[in-house]
């Protein structure tokens, strides 16, 4: 069982969370008109076999969005951070 330690609620089964995709992608600036940039953002994935930074939402807990480091080859996870910290640091 994949276990995620929510910074608010503690260690929980991953089934309490909703997977939200690759967090390594930076959304193109608002107003970017170049369709190729948007295509690459929406449709292309690094899909690494190894370290992966990704979003999870604790839907059956505090409902916070989190950023988690997970190794896709082993499913080892690191401690998640609230996604808002990342957004605020931009």
């Amino acid at each position: 069982m994949l276990r995620i330690t929510c910074p608010c609620c503690g260690e929980r089964d991953y089934t309490e969370f909703r997977y939200g995709g690759d967090a390594g992608k930076a959304r193109p600036a608002h107003g970017t008109g170049d369709l190729k940039t948007w295509h690459d953002h929406v449709f292309l994935f690094d899909n690494p076999k190894g370290a992966h930074r990704e979003y999870w939402q604790h839907v059956l807990g505090c409902r916070q969005w989190l950023v988690l480091e997970r190794n896709t080859a082993t499913n080892e996870v690191g401690p998640p951070r609230p996604a808002r910290d990342r957004a605020e640091s931009r």
Binding site: M1, L2, D13, Y14, T15, Y19, G21, D22, L35, K36, H39, D40, V42, F43, L44, F45, D46, N47, P48, K49, H52, E54, T72, A73, T74, N75
Partner: protein, 419 residues
């Protein structure tokens, strides 16, 4: 080349049990160069190599497999073949594949044990039956067999489902494709490998590609753990590891790798005579010749390369099973396993050229790689031999999202983990 399999050969070996069967394919050392190299000795890679030789006369071909033939998803799936698709591009491709399945045992001189036992998709409400009727009409307009069944007809066909008044998911009817069914998954890999080998293709096992050689924007071969192998044309057909291998050529793909689990119960007497697909969730079940119920569900829901499934999905699939077939609630699972699926944002695959000249790809198979093996190999071989797409894989280009050419048969949006 192994001798031709026939009733006579079988009788000859029965009379002399000490006479060994010849190896089904050679074990050659890799040559320094080939006309075409296919990375991946799974169903699609082996089929492509076979059709390169059989359809296009290209016999100086190698298939590079990092492990052994049949060790990937071709040997770990629920073996269903069918062609009940909705969208133009998918419908014709999968019907072509089913037609190839129908002649495959003869073409390969290898019994792939195709069993056209029929597949029934269940409808659990009137609107769902309408949707299935639409799909059935689309199939029939494309010359594919499809029958809409009402509740009574489903009851006669599949009497073991839950028809009780308090069934959680009442059964209103179903869509039956009689030509759908199952095949013996390993035999498909072995049959293509043996037939390709017989035409001169080198099948090189335990040969892992570690790099793709690029020169002036062209692919000229691969680096492997058994040395450099040059090739006029190179194809990637590695399923769950498509992104991993494509990255060696600097390509990013519209693919994420996810795990899909499959399950086999303990063997029981014949019960499920068709392939049955639950309509309220993703759940599909058939019974193997050994008696085990073979079934599967959705992917686990987050990208991973581990071939180990997670328990919550086992529970979900078991709940689906019991919801529609309460009679199997006491059965024990004999085994379950996970395979790495190359999931795409629209649920459809990629077969064709890449931005790099002389480099081709066959991947992004999501749930549907097995049934597509013959057509996937056929169209990849065509694309490699002629450097242009076959009409059947024109819609499966890598750049289709840039052109608004999604083939979203499920209509579930552009999330790989929701396909």
């Amino acid at each position: 080349m192994a001798s031709r399999y026939s009733a006579f050969a079988l009788a000859r070996h029965a009379l002399d049990p000490h006479l060994p069967w010849p190896r089904a394919w050679r074990s050659p050392a890799p040559k320094s160069s080939y006309d075409a190299v296919v990375i991946g000795g799974g169903g699609h890679g082996l089929a492509a190599a076979y059709y390169l030789a059989a359809n296009h006369g290209m016999t100086n071909v190698a298939v590079l497999e990092k492990s052994y033939v049949g060790s990937g998803n071709i040997g770990r799936n629920t073996t269903i073949v069918r062609s009940n698709y909705l969208i133009d591009g998918n419908t014709q491709f999968f019907e072509f594949s089913l037609k190839l399945w129908e002649g495959l045992s003869h073409a390969l001189n290898f019994n792939v044990m195709l069993s056209q036992r029929g597949q029934c998709v269940l409808a659990h409400g009137p609107s769902q039956l309408d949707v299935l009727a639409r799909k059935g009409n689309i199939m029939r307009l494309n010359g594919i067999d499809a029958e809409i069944l009402d509740r009574g007809e489903v009851m006669r066909l599949l009497p073991y489902l839950d028809y009780s008044p308090d069934a959680r998911f009442p059964i209103w009817g179903g869509l039956l494709q009689r030509r759908a069914g199952t095949a013996r998954h390993d035999a498909v890999a072995w049959g293509y490998a043996r037939a390709a080998d017989g035409l001169g293709v080198d099948i090189i096992e335990n040969c892992e590609v570690t790099g793709i050689i690029l020169q002036d924007g062209r692919c000229t071969g691969v680096e492997t753990n058994r040395g450099r192998i040059l090739a006029e044309r190179t194809a990637i057909a590695v399923a769950g590891h498509s992104s991993h291998v494509a990255a060696m050529a600097g390509l990013r793909l519209p693919v994420e790798s996810h795990i899909l689990q499959a399950f086999v119960s303990e063997p029981i007497k014949p019960l499920v005579h068709h392939v049955v697909s639950f309509g309220a969730e993703l759940f599909y079940i058939s019974q193997s010749d050994k008696g085990g119920l073979v079934f599967g569900g959705h992917i686990d829901g987050f990208n991973t390369y581990t071939q180990r499934g997670h328990f919550p999905k086992v529970q979900t699939v078991a709940e689906c099973a019991v919801a529609v077939m309460p009679c199997i609630s006491r059965l024990r699972l004999l085994r379950h396993w996970g395979g790495v699926m190359d999931m795409t944002p629209d649920g459809s695959p990629f077969i064709g050229r890449t931005p790099i000249r002389n480099l081709y790809i066959n991947g992004g198979w999501c749930y549907q790689g097995f049934k597509a093996v013959p057509a996937g190999g056929w169209t990849l071989a065509h694309t490699m031999a002629k450097d242009e797409e076959h009409e059947l894989n024109r819609g499966y280009s890598l750049d289709r999202f840039e052109r608004g050419g999604e083939l979203d048969d499920h209509g579930s949006g552009n999330w790989t983990w929701k396909q």
